[in-house]
């Protein structure tokens, strides 16, 4: 009787999930775009070396030309080169802070929802309190008492943004923990850790992935807001968010090269992450019926 299905079902090679990911064409496009952006930011400066340390007021505010493909900004930096340099920071901060926030938030929320009772109450009230203290204010204080460094920046952004995923995941966790497969783990003597990490968290993946992509976008933009408060990256370094927010003031001035390249880069990276997220979701989502 074993033969019945043996003929029909070949043993699965590893990388089944990978294939499922690759089957999502948009996800692959996203991955390629992301790779290109990383290349652009990391390898780009080698191909297109520009002085991103010294200002050059004599060459400021130039529209695109052969010498400066994307023109220069208001202190004379080459915008293309600046885009590359800003990309390094934006990508790094966006990714790391997004991952950090998602990790903390997911674990926190899953645990709270799973354990329930007063532990849940305490953990979620902490989240409430965290949400109630507006991030702007925290940033203001942090910026007043520290000197921003890149790791600190990532940490701070991660720490102000884990609250949302925590809430989201907790909501799902509360309903997932009543599923029989979670009961089965508990009844079988599985640790709480296993129930949370292996059963609850993976089943919130759809929400988590969506949120993670938002976190990346948020982190990139938050750096821009933080520069406004004086907690951004230390000049002459820059990031896409800061480039965009400084360019926005020029919207009526026709200096499109100071607005749109940075804006497009942000949109591109967030879109790429989103489609990658969808792909990841497909990869981990076994039930979804793919067309």
């Amino acid at each position: 009787m074993t033969a019945t299905l043996d003929g029909e079902v070949r043993p699965v090679p590893r990388g089944r999930a990978l294939r499922r990911f690759l089957a999502n064409r948009m996800a692959v496009v996203g991955l390629v775009v992301l790779a290109l952006l990383v290349l652009f930011s990391v390898v780009g400066p080698l191909v297109h070396p520009t002085d991103q340390v010294h200002t050059n007021l004599a060459e400021a505010n130039q529209p695109p030309s052969a010498a400066h493909l994307l023109g220069t900004d208001s202190v004379g930096y080459d915008v293309l080169g600046r885009l590359m340099q800003g990309g390094q920071i934006s990508l790094l901060v966006g990714l790391s802070a997004g991952v950090l926030a998602t990790l903390i938030g997911t674990l926190w929320g899953a645990t709270a929802g799973y354990v329930g009772g007063w532990v849940d109450a305490v953990m979620m009230r902490v989240v409430d309190a965290g949400i109630a203290i507006p991030a702007i204010f925290l940033l203001l204080v942090v910026s007043a008492i520290t000197r921003p460094t890149l790791p600190l920046l990532i940490l701070v952004i991660g720490l102000v943004s884990w609250l949302v995923p925590a809430r989201l995941v907790r909501a799902e966790s509360v309903s997932l923990k009543t599923r029989e497969y979670v009961l089965a783990v508990r009844a079988g003597g599985g640790t709480h850790r296993r129930a949370v990490l292996r059963h609850i968290v993976p089943n919130t993946i759809g929400t988590v992935v969506v949120n993670a992509t938002f976190q990346v976008a948020d982190a990139i933009l938050l750096v821009a807001y933080m520069s406004f408060l004086g907690m951004g990256v230390q000049p002459p370094a820059t990031d896409w968010g800061a480039m965009l927010s400084s360019g926005v003031g020029l919207v009526y001035s026709g200096a499109w090269w100071l607005i749109f390249p940075a804006g497009l880069a942000i949109v591109a990276v967030v879109c790429a992450f989103n489609f990658i997220g969808d792909g990841l979701r497909d990869m981990l989502d076994v039930k979804g019926k793919r067309a």
Binding site: L183, G189, G190, R290
Partner: protein
């Protein structure tokens, strides 16, 4: 049995399936689930489809209403009352669904919307086809009463998770028959039901067929049910119909080899004795695997509180198999859950393998490692995001010490061996639960429960979705493992024959209390309590003569 002409004109077939092929595209390639099935049911007749678990019965049924998942490719012809439904889409298809063809799904646990009251879900079936809102609501309560939900008016406002497995199944049946469709497709409609309710449901379905001239397409693995209700039988094996014909002929003189094997595997209850036998208390031998004393379980709190189990004493010996039978909703599953601490015990005490099962500490976990559990609903108890292999291997990873710290390869070997033991092919290892048939999932759950050679096995309907031949094999495995390692087992089933076959002792539950218990032979052969007698009498027999006797007995007993 049936007064309607047994030789209805072929052309008036209410449901006709012709050369149906269904192939699933999966990551590992194509799975041909149905290969050229040809079937027909006329109005007023009952066609029973039996066959091996995973042979394509459910897939065939679902293709009628175009409900297969998107990775299925279908070809062939399916017509309902002359209309070809395979090509239908949109509004045309919708008008057939529910109104002309009613469908009862195999797994009732997941078939109901968890966030909608049961009454609303029944009423929706009516409203979809033009019934006014309040009329539909009133009719929904009637339907729920009809399928035997007690206190239907009040319970219509409850949510599915507040119902027992059997009750949910009845809700699904109520939905299917709501619009009095011309064709009723019932996929294992009575698996989760105890025999008394099963009999009532069969009566209900029979009435629908007889009085309203509906055609019933019944998928079941219960040969007793087939004998009881079917006019014609089709036998499926590996995606093909291997034999088809009138019930008498197929059951008594099977022409196909597989059919013969299938029939041979049907367990039979002993003839019901006319007089109850004297009580016999067999004391369990060496120590006990499970001891329940005065256990009470409540659901809800305050005014909504509901006592599901009342003052139950039950002992399962260390090497003993104790069967629990009884009415659907009588608290069997609740008792099992209470035994392993999944629901809190309101009063009384429970001890497992000699110690109380409390907390989540290391000691409790080690104790739990020695408990195997098969939940009633296999679909719900498997993590949808884990492959079968991962699910079955999970106990090894949860209790590496108890499992002897197997590495990856060892785990895989052992999982393969376990799957083999429950007669699942090795290829199942890398599939996800939703890619399996109901019976296959159930066996996965059993394999997982046996993974660590438990000292106590709680098996809640472990074979309800299996065809008798596989069931036979699985029971054999269970017995083998039992004799080899000797564990105590709480075996919950509504299939009295199966219980009789495997259990040493049997407890009969009703309304949350154990009404009778004693040796399997005595309780199932010569029960003392009227309820037990009615229960045993309700169990269908393969033998049409015996079956008639039982039905009469049951009617007098009630």
């Amino acid at each position: 049995m049936t007064t309607v002409s047994a030789t209805a004109d072929e052309s008036t077939a209410a449901l006709e399936v012709d050369d149906l092929h269904v192939t699933f595209t999966t990551d590992e390639g194509d799975v041909p689930a149905v290969r050229g099935v040809r079937l027909a049911v006329a109005r007023g007749r009952v066609l029973a489809l039996v066959g091996e678990s995973g042979s394509g019965k459910s897939v065939t049924a679902m293709s009628v209403l175009g409900l297969l998942p998107r990775n299925a490719r279908t070809s062939g012809r399916v017509s309902v009352g002359g209309t070809d439904v395979v090509g239908l889409t949109g509004e045309d298809l919708r008008r057939v669904r529910g109104a002309r063809v009613g469908m009862v799904f195999q797994e009732p646990a997941t078939a109901l919307n968890p966030s909608m009251t049961v009454g609303a879900q029944v009423a929706e079936a009516l409203r979809n086809h033009g019934t006014a809102k309040d009329v539909a609501a009133a009719r929904a309560v009637e339907l729920l009463t009809e399928v035997g939900i007690p206190d239907a008016a009040a319970r219509a406002g409850r949510y599915p998770h507040e119902f027992s497995g059997g009750q949910r199944q009845r809700v699904v049946i109520a939905i299917a028959i709501a619009c009095e469709p011309e064709v009723i497709i019932a996929d294992e409609p009575t698996t989760a039901l105890d025999v008394t309710v099963q009999a009532e449901i069969l009566d209900l379905l029979r009435r629908l067929v007889q009085e309203r001239g509906a055609a019933l397409f019944l998928i079941t693995h219960n040969m007793g049910v087939v004998a009881d209700i079917a006019d014609d039988v089709a036998v499926m094996y590996q995606g093909r119909v291997v034999e088809q014909g009138p019930v008498q002929q197929v059951l008594t003189a099977p022409s196909d080899d597989y059919t013969a094997r299938l029939l041979a595997a049907v367990p039979e209850l002993p003839r019901l004795a006319d007089e109850p036998a004297a009580a016999d208390e067999v004391a369990p031998a060496d120590g006990d695997a499970l001891r329940l004393e005065g256990v009470c379980v409540d659901y809800g709190r305050g005014r909504r509180a509901f006592r599901a189990v009342t003052d139950v004493d039950l002992v399962v010996g260390a090497r003993e198999i104790v069967g629990v039978v009884g009415e659907s909703g009588s608290g069997k599953s609740t008792l099992a859950r209470a035994a392993v601490g999944l629901v809190p015990i309101a009063a009384g005490s429970a001890s497992v393998l000699g110690s109380a099962l409390t907390g989540h500490g290391r000691r409790a976990r080690l104790l739990r490692a020695r408990i195997g559990i098969v939940f009633q609903d296999p679909a719900g108890s498997l993590d949808p995001r884990m492959t079968v292999g991962e699910s079955v291997a999970e106990p090894f990873r949860m209790h590496p010490d108890a499992a002897g710290r197997p590495n990856r390869a060892e785990r895989r070997t052992r999982v393969t061996a376990l799957l083999d033991a429950v007669r699942l092919p090795g290829g199942t290892l890398d599939r996800y639960p939703h890619e399996l048939s109901g019976g296959q999932r159930q066996r996965v759950a059993l394999a997982r429960a046996l993974a660590l050679r438990p000292g106590l096995l709680i098996a809640d309907e472990p074979t309800s979705a299996l065809d008798v031949s596989v069931q036979q094999q699985v029971l054999d495995v269970l017995r083998e493992v039992h004799t080899e390692f000797g564990f105590g087992c709480l075996f919950i089933s509504h299939d009295l024959a199966v219980v009789h076959e495997i259990a040493d002792r049997v407890a009969v539950m009703r309304g949350g209390v154990i009404v009778e218990h004693g040796s399997a032979d005595r309780v199932l052969g010569a029960p003392r309590e009227p309820y037990s007698r009615a229960l045993v009498a309700a169990a269908p027999s393969l033998d049409p003569v015996e079956q008639r006797r039982r039905r009469e007995l049951r009617l007098t007993a009630l």
